[in-house]
Symmetry: C2
Subunit: 338 residues, 2 copies
């Protein structure tokens, strides 16, 4: 037999209102009564029905996370950290993924309008501009993660792609004195990719190295394009001394291509990546890369979202934050590493 608040109230000899109060914050309920109620709650193993609660409070205590169609392994860590932080606040996490049946925008719209969540976390490095309008129109708060551009009305948090790329290239130049530095880019239109490319260009400029378009290759963040990018670069007349792969997956591709073609890293060519995925620490030589604070990204996304939702901060100005990254030195850049 399902037990509800009435059963508890009956057994405790009080009204349901008192039971409710005893359980929530316990504002103005006599300590003794409260104690008694809590004991009975324990005894009956009563768990308030969250659905009824949601209906009454007009709040689901659930946040939605939109999953892109294709996601890297890091996304799992992202979700994990989101859920852990939500849990700490007694909130829950509903996921909604885009797939063959619906694209990411449709997913977002459905989720926001569904009434099942009070806020949404959207990681969408390939975000189109139309999305920002959609979000502005909706009353459901959204926090953007790793998106390009800055929107006055929408909370946003991201990783410092620009600085990361800049630091990698600067390291190549300042520490190793490389001049011919190639890059394997991420996909066109991808925000992370574009910012990283921009960091690459800035570093070159800063150190007065002319941009050489034969050293700039398009990739799309997967292993295969790393293979192709590396091969293309190394088949040229004048080879690069170093290659910056805009993410670690492509760097892995570069490693494989190097093996295939008989090049030694870093002696024949130096490599660096971006993301610091799990695997990169095991590559030989250990990959020099940029560590991305993915856990922090998830935690902060939840924090800001909850702030926006609960603190009646609904109209305060948008929060914008760029998380710092960290250069991780391995052996692939030419440094000694043990």
């Amino acid at each position: 037999m399902k037990i509800d608040i009435h059963k508890v109230a009956l057994k405790a000899g009080v009204s349901i209102a008192t039971v409710s109060r005893a359980l929530n914050g316990g504002e103005l309920v006599k300590p003794k009564t409260k104690e008694k109620i809590l004991k009975i709650v324990e005894e009956l193993n009563y768990i308030p029905n969250p659905i009824a609660r949601s209906l009454s409070k007009q709040s689901t205590e659930t946040i939605g996370v939109v999953l892109p169609d294709l996601v890297g392994e890091f996304f799992m860590d992202f979700i994990h950290s989101i859920d852990e932080e939500a849990y700490k606040n007694n909130w829950h996490v509903l996921i909604s993924s885009s797939h063959s049946q619906r694209n990411i925008i449709e997913t977002l719209i459905e989720l926001m309008g569904s009434g099942r969540v009070d806020g949404v976390i959207l990681m969408a490095p390939q975000m189109q501009n139309e999305v920002s309008e959609i979000i502005q129109k909706s009353k459901t708060p959204v926090i953007l993660v790793n998106t390009c551009g800055e929107f006055s009305k929408i909370d946003q948090i991201k990783v410092d792609n620009y600085k990361g790329a800049y630091e990698v290239v600067e390291h190549f130049i300042k520490v190793h004195n490389y001049k011919r530095i190639g890059i394997i880019n991420g996909p066109k239109g991808n925000c992370d990719a574009e910012e990283r490319f921009s960091g690459y260009l800035s570093a070159l400029k800063k150190y007065k190295i002319a941009k050489d378009s034969s050293l700039i290759i398009n990739g799309n963040f997967d292993v295969e394009s790393g293979v192709i990018g590396f091969t293309t670069l190394m088949n040229q007349e004048i080879r690069p001394e170093a290659i910056f792969a805009a993410n670690d997956m492509m760097a892995v591709g570069a490693y494989e291509a190097a093996k295939e073609l008989g090049f030694k890293i870093p002696n024949d060519v130096a490599i660096a990546g971006f993301d610091d995925i799990y695997l990169s620490q095991f590559l030989l030589p250990r990959l020099t890369t940029i560590h991305v604070p993915i856990t922090e990204l998830g935690i902060k996304a939840v924090k800001f979202l909850l702030n926006r939702i609960t603190k009646k901060k609904r109209n305060s100005e948008a929060h914008f934050e760029v998380l710092p990254i960290e250069l991780v030195i391995g052996g692939s850049c030419g440094c000694r590493y043990s």
Copy 2:
């Protein structure tokens, strides 16, 4: 202004009951009225409040997925397929992960008792027996994924670990005539690991190869233990001709160790893995491994769970299914591969 069913009813000049009926199945509502209502629904952009609906129908139309603490990249695909299948049935997916704050059993219990989901998918290869009792006691249906043992009352679906391992080893023996075949095991107590080990042993036995404990190494499914396992095996007086890593991550570790120690795969030693992770297709040589139908696993888990929940099949006998795997031949076993 939030619009609800009353507004729609008012504008359509009917009662809310009729609106509700027009929207759900539309049993016995005059075609003309229905049409009119639907038009107004469209016009006002009315979306029924799912919370109220849940309360009234006593069903959340949401399934819960328990995330283990540490998960491989394949878990992302698993979730994706779950969500896609759920979506096709107009259901939703709530995730709940175990982490530093609570272990997997607590997570499961909380989720089942929470009233936020109508059923739960639990992938727990390291499941303790106590879990099955907990599940039996609860009225929330649960489907176990990749767990060991067979429980008469609980739906279960898994991958054919035994056969996969058997096929790998059989391939080593029959095609390549290897006799000394080592294995790097997964963690103790892990169901996948134990079944794979068991398949390994059976194949040896079938082909009358004596079990040699110096060829059996303990690992724990991560890259590092692959490195260690490989190193240990190859540092022995008499080296193995082939090594079966119980998952691809450890196989990757083996590749790295081979590189470090100067062994060529497959000439000096053959390697095979299990899982067919994204990366394995890019390894050089391509890793010979067992493909696990992770998407199918997710889809079927949802299907059976929904069946159990909705079809009043609540007490029909438990569904038990083992999904077939597929041997993927790469170059690492000694086969030619291009």
